[in-house]
Subunit: 258 residues, 4 copies
């Protein structure tokens, strides 16, 4: 049985396609992990290539085949393999992959040392264009932010809330997800924990009160730490506060210029 | 041209269907409003009926026709019309509708009186079964909650956060969405605003510090107010705190028995 | 240092709380799996207990401690352990847990046998009340549905789309998630795959065309298979079609009466 | 009472902030509309400015004041007013706004002419930098896509599904949202409707079968129409198919080079 290969037919619209492929594909993966070598998690993946103007379509099933053929351990090195195989199997000059996944870290509560897992989100974006790899690592880190204005003007208390920092970096040498998370957590009013006993809650409350940050301070603190870290070549940091006194959020962004 | 009516064909599986219809249908509506008579908003609607075992299918287009034929002002009275028309057009004993929509309230900041719109979410659920109407009104109200434990044990400050209260009620006489929102806001550490100048922020911060509530207190405060309101025949209140010191949420629920 | 235990203080509002606890807690777990013993995935968890009227609050950190103390393999048996420990540690009569997680199944394409992982969602809901365990297993299964009416009236083709079936069951003997997924997939126009080569795509297209189902047929097919399975004591099946010709969805529900 | 103005204090980190402001703010608006002059809808807004390195913070309440002071009719002209006022009130060189909202269009079914509202999503992004306005209009349009490969290889039928096209444009002269929607709908296998009677469903099914498009064809068709429209200076078009035979989506993107 010979089935017509519609995708391989010619196209005369003279329009190359920048990206074509698959999106929203859930896939179980293992990620390198400082504490335990690797941790199991579930990624949502996107894989795309460019398509020259003369071809009608790409071959979608090959994206899934390439992904399947690489086992499930993901790190910078085998992302290059996946990208190379995509460019070869799909006859393209440029391939992109994105993997976003929950990442877990065991943390000890600050006073009692009670241990619990905290969940973060991390993302790998990698592009291979004419043999050159560009890799961006992103971490999404929940934090506490306590408002400096509210503290300065109020007799007691200060509004605080859960905030979220999204930090994307390009680096010289591979960098641990854990180290980027730490960099962000050190920039906030307090880091978060899954498990806090009363003495820990006291410590965390007081620490936040003593370290008020606006969303502006938060992105500047993160940017300052990134500038001081020679291994980080580029960064973009966004902070969003789920304000406890409003229904809208406060937001700030700094991106390092080229 | 006579087109076969597959839906009207007989079915021999002996299985009546509890609910069948349309879901996730966006529709612009007008809602009655204390301040301005009506306000314009956008609902996400669900309309369903029961289907006796002997019919293969319902006629989906009639749900949309019934909705279209009623103009766009929604209130308790014309919900009954929509439900009656659904049971007639679809030959069923029982019909259900749900409309969920953003609802806006102009509020004055507590000190400066600066005015701004705050957004809430409201929901109408109505069922007509053998001529008897059951109507449930739900409001989803964002609030500030400040932790009584954190306040009691800390030298200064107390963790607080945005929380969300979902209150569903059945009533004797039509009740204003605005009055249910007020009932919930009075039960929290503080209500929220879209616009707060510095003197307002000071007032809101101090008010929250002086009125700490656990998620347990919040649902009890709302339940107590519902019990004291003779017009409310039944209620279910849920509160969820987006904890500023954790990535998980605190949650509580009280539902009035029969 | 003795820190005040606000939660243990008395409450005089005379209002017991139906459910109080933690929600939206992400946690890595392992799930029993027919093919490979267990598979690693990530759950979103909710853990709650009831709270008698005389206590001001529950102790939220204990929920996280109980969860942490049970390792990460989840099955019916250790859910009972978690629930028992929740009732003991929190002095309550009734505890509830919910775990929702992606679940992966390796499938072979129907003609070429090409293998790929497909993602589903599963959910465990378990309640322990005065020593009696109630367990509900839910699977959320994506399928193809092809419209019988569209096929019957059109010269060629028929609109079809991705649909989603949510099947919840109570059972006598433990049941495999894989078997419930199979029951649902056999009830649709076609099951889905992550990897299909051209001969497979032909087979899947033709299979769907030969097996048209309304959303009404889909829930009845599932219900009929559940009725025929003596191990299933109760079920509720919902189907939602992301209609390819509308922006709204078609929806149907059958729930087995007590 | 003089309250300390923390935001106006100096900052010595030497880090200017690219964007700071408010996000996720829901606001009722009116949008110009070909058929009825304006239509009421609900926007989710983001308003930001740049912040020079020497200032510690921006004044968040002014964003809300500027938004409130402009009434609720939004069009290209008063977006410039909002942006100018933001730069003035916040002493910045550059301001950005984004408004995303449901947009409704009344459509007549292709055979019976039955009328019903269809919902789309539209977005305004506008930046004012040193007095120069940059405006990008985006429409998100749901469509039917029918797979050319599936049609070519199968005896009968072809898999089809709901797809979604996101088209962003810059233009010379103001362009109607309705006209951009039409441009996209003409590029797909079929447009969608909220209300279709049986003769309409037959027409829509057959039209889709006669106009198969890959996601690659869809973005090329839209790009080709944009290239042919002298009023469109720049465009970026993305298409995503919610494949009826997979759980992942097919995706393509073309962006016009500067």
């Amino acid at each position: 049985m010979s089935l017509r290969d519609t995708q391989s037919e010619p196209d005369d619209r003279q329009l190359p396609i920048d990206r074509v492929g698959v999106k929203a594909l859930r896939f179980p993966i293992r990620i390198r992990d400082k504490a335990r070598e690797t941790q199991a998690t579930v990624a949502t993946a996107q894989l795309t290539v460019d398509l020259p103007h003369q071809h009608k379509g790409t071959h979608m099933s090959r994206f899934v085949e390439v992904l399947n053929s690489h086992g499930n351990v993901l790190h910078v090195d085998n992302l290059r393999d996946i990208l190379e195989q995509l460019t070869q199997r799909l006859h393209s000059d440029c391939a992109h992959v994105e993997f976003e996944f929950p990442f877990f870290l065991e943390k000890a509560a600050p006073v009692t040392g009670a241990r619990g897992l905290l969940d973060y989100t991390a993302r790998f974006n990698a592009t291979l264009e004419n043999g050159v790899l560009d890799f961006v690592l992103t971490v999404i880190v929940p934090v506490t932010t306590l408002c400096p204005c509210s503290k300065a003007i109020s007799i007691h208390g200060a509004h605080n809330q859960r905030g979220q920092v999204t930090l994307a970096v390009r680096f010289q040498q591979p960098i641990w997800i854990e180290d980027l998370i730490r960099l962000v957590e050190d920039s906030a009013s307090s880091e978060l924990y899954s498990l806090l006993k009363r003495p820990d809650e006291k410590a965390v409350t007081e620490r936040a009160y003593e370290n008020p940050v606006f969303v502006e301070d938060l992105v500047r603190n993160v940017a300052q730490r990134c500038e001081a870290e020679p291994n980080i070549r580029w960064y973009r940091v966004e902070a969003e506060n789920f304000e406890s006194i409003h229904t809208h959020n406060a937001y700030a962004l700094i991106e390092k210029r080229g």
